[in-house]
């Protein structure tokens, strides 16, 4: 069964007819060419496919595209400033060498953007908790935590 879905993706209105069973990951990657949305497990375990849905980080592999009707989706392709500058979270990941193979990176950056948008500050323990839905097999999470602390870390920690 195909259904028409209207959503906003990275600021642009999109209208698509999609199979009801299609995951948002596949729609974003295969129809919209947003390949920053990675597939690491497709069962909601690794966080590589994370996107922001109305500002909230979600695993898009277990989110059906039809559910996205009427919602706003952000991927890493859509977070740069108007001037083309990196988002502060991206910049922090680059500066802190928080990227090795890069496969987990887009998802983690989006979780970082969500934290920035919350306006709150986070301790290292809280940050560990907030990124625990993301698997990174390359780093020991240290530089990722350091990058996030740079933008949303609480001084007290």
């Amino acid at each position: 069964m195909f259904k028409t879905v209207r959503m906003t993706v990275n600021g642009k209105a999109v209208e698509l007819a999609v199979d009801e069973r299609e995951s948002l990951t596949d729609t974003l990657r295969e129809r919209l060419g947003l390949t920053s949305v990675k597939k690491g497990c497709e069962v909601g375990e690794c966080g590589a496919c994370t996107v922001l849905i109305d500002g909230v980080s979600k695993n898009s592999c277990i989110y059906l595209t039809v559910w996205a009707d009427g919602h706003e989706i952000i991927t890493v392709e859509g977070i740069r400033g108007k001037n083309g500058l990196l988002h502060p979270v991206q910049q922090a990941f680059v500066d802190e060498a928080a990227i090795q193979c890069g496969f987990c990176t887009p998802g983690l950056i989006l979780t970082g953007v969500e934290l920035v948008n919350s306006g709150k500050k986070y301790s290292r323990a809280e940050l560990r908790e907030r990124i625990s839905g993301h698997l990174c097999r390359c780093t020991g999470y240290e530089n990722i935590l350091r990058a996030l602390e740079k933008v949303v870390g609480s001084e007290s920690d």
């Binding site: 375990e45 392709e77 990941f93 802190e96 496969f103 950056i109 560990r128 390359c138 780093t139």
Partner: protein
Amino acid sequence: MSSISQSVRKLDHLAKASGAAKYVEDIVLDDMLYGKIVRSTVAHGKIRSIRLPDMPEGYSAVTAADIPGVNNVHIVQDDHPVFSGGEVNYIGEAILMIVGPDKRQVAKFARATEVEYDLLETCFDPKKSDTTFYEYGYEEGDWREAFAEADEVIDEEIFSAHQEHAYMEVQGLIGDYRNGKLTVRGSMQCPFYVHMAVTAVMGMKPEDVNVIADETGGGFGGKEDYPSILGSQVGVASYKVGKPVKCVFDRREDITCTSKRHPAFMRYRIAIKDGKMTAVDADILYDGGGYTTLSMVVLQRGLIGALGIYKFPSYRVHGKAVKTHTVPNGAFRGFGGPQTFFAMELMMNHAARKLGKDPLELRKEYCAKQGDMSPTHGVYHFDIPIPAMLDQLAEASDYHRKVKAYRNQTGRYRRGIGVSSVYHGCGFTGAGERDLIKGVFKLHKRADDTVEILAAAVDMGQGVKTTFRKIAANVLGLPEDRVIIVNPDTARVPNSGPTVASRSIMVVGKLIERAAKRLKAEWKPGEDQLITEKYVHPDFMIPWDLATFSGDPYPDSSWSTNIVEVEVDTMLGLTKILNAWGCYDVGTVIDENIVIGQMEGGLLQSLGHGGIELINYDQSGRIRNNSLSDYIVPTALDVPSLHVMFHKSEYFNGPFGAKAAGELPNVGGSASYIGALECALETDLYQTPFSTEDTMELLEGRRNG
């Protein structure tokens, strides 16, 4: 700190942070079809019949009959089929590939393909295997006599289990055959391995085959040999259908059919006389799985390291790798070393307990020294900094106070602290660099005075593009942006060797340094210049002889000490890692951020193998936990802050004094973790991983007397 160690921005960070980096799954070629492999569902059998579903036009099945060349993938030997020739030897072995334009349909037809088997006898227990793939050994002194005269003998079997690489990007490749030429591209560590294997399978001329490494989302050894198999499969498929064919696994498929760390059963005996360890006898058994793949060299490295960093008056080391009907085990960061080091390190703990000594001090006492004969009758040519590194970590971790404080604990929560001291031999084992790899490197200066690095090394996250560029730019005195390095393509780059064995910086980096020095001396502004450098075997080495298993297997070693502190909840069996320290001697650190990142990531993988990473096979030889929900890798909640330190040294024959780095942190982590558990639970343990369930069983056993 040497100026080369100052961190620079990593070359690939911008593309990776902005989502622009293209991994194989992101690459779509015109007219491209998708492939899905039908795999054996039995561990050992003969294929009786295959029934394909009805498929519309445009869909086809690719089988062994479509292979234009040989149905054997060259790895070390040539025994792994591209597609089964009739017999299958493990669950997950490839039988055929369904190819077609729609991914979902392809998967559906693959599922609907019916294969019938005549079942053959299976063997899942390496101790009962009747097929020995490889067997080696060496000895020194009268160890028999030492055991005969011993006051006491410690006799134990230590077990190290499978480990899954769990790189975040699953395996995937594209084959693109057109006009008599084949391109294979995608996720891999070793473009020229793939090239060699595919050329034979296709029966093509080497110059008609081109292999391109795209962005590779982690490897850890898992993409060393496997892409030779998958590359052959997509090559044959594309040849048959005349269009590009992409085959990217899903996670379950990846865990089911790709290599793992070899499980190892290691029986160690230590003779003790007058309070001294006088002999060690080690009998090592590696489970090779269904085919030989890389077991030959993995076993060699394991045996070379079987006595750890220690010197004993007499010893015997013997080991073999055998066949079982499970997925072939292969390269995993450390390459056979972590298993035997784990066993030796545990034996040191147990010996310390027997001798009433501190485990850390006992390590210092038995540590070999520069100039000593090595276990394989080579020589330790350079300083062995382990005692100093142990002291460095003891101080950083407050080890000696804690060891005392953690004696005779009562109550629900008990703490422990464990230590390990290990090495990783730098580069290929034995004479591999000289006789097999023969690395060639080129530096191309263009007329615009930019310089391109031409090497086969793949950046799978370890940062090799950045560090290679740094070495060249530093020698040439050029700004980094004037030095270019892109992903390797066998048609453009010379064979500088595979991205394995922690060899890239020490071996290829040395070639870069030499080429850059020459270019600098011969620099002609505005002219095109090409500099070629070839591997030169260090002349100080005692030649390695495999037949007698003797000589210098490596020019030098990188050294590491680890201390881990845990807290065990004796009610629930849960172990929390409170602290983990690692001290590393990798020679000159070529880029601090990059090397620290490598050490942290490698240490975490090793800690994962200590406690939570378990592969479960069922009785039919099937891996039960083939998803990331069931195979658990550490999250940010599973580790404390990791404390990484360096011991300064310089290796004269490495670029700027650098040695091997990448695998080192994967060698000693699990041993120090299990050592910490031994300390907390005040007992000897014999395996890795030691899980929550294992802890509960041990504690319940105690309660029940």
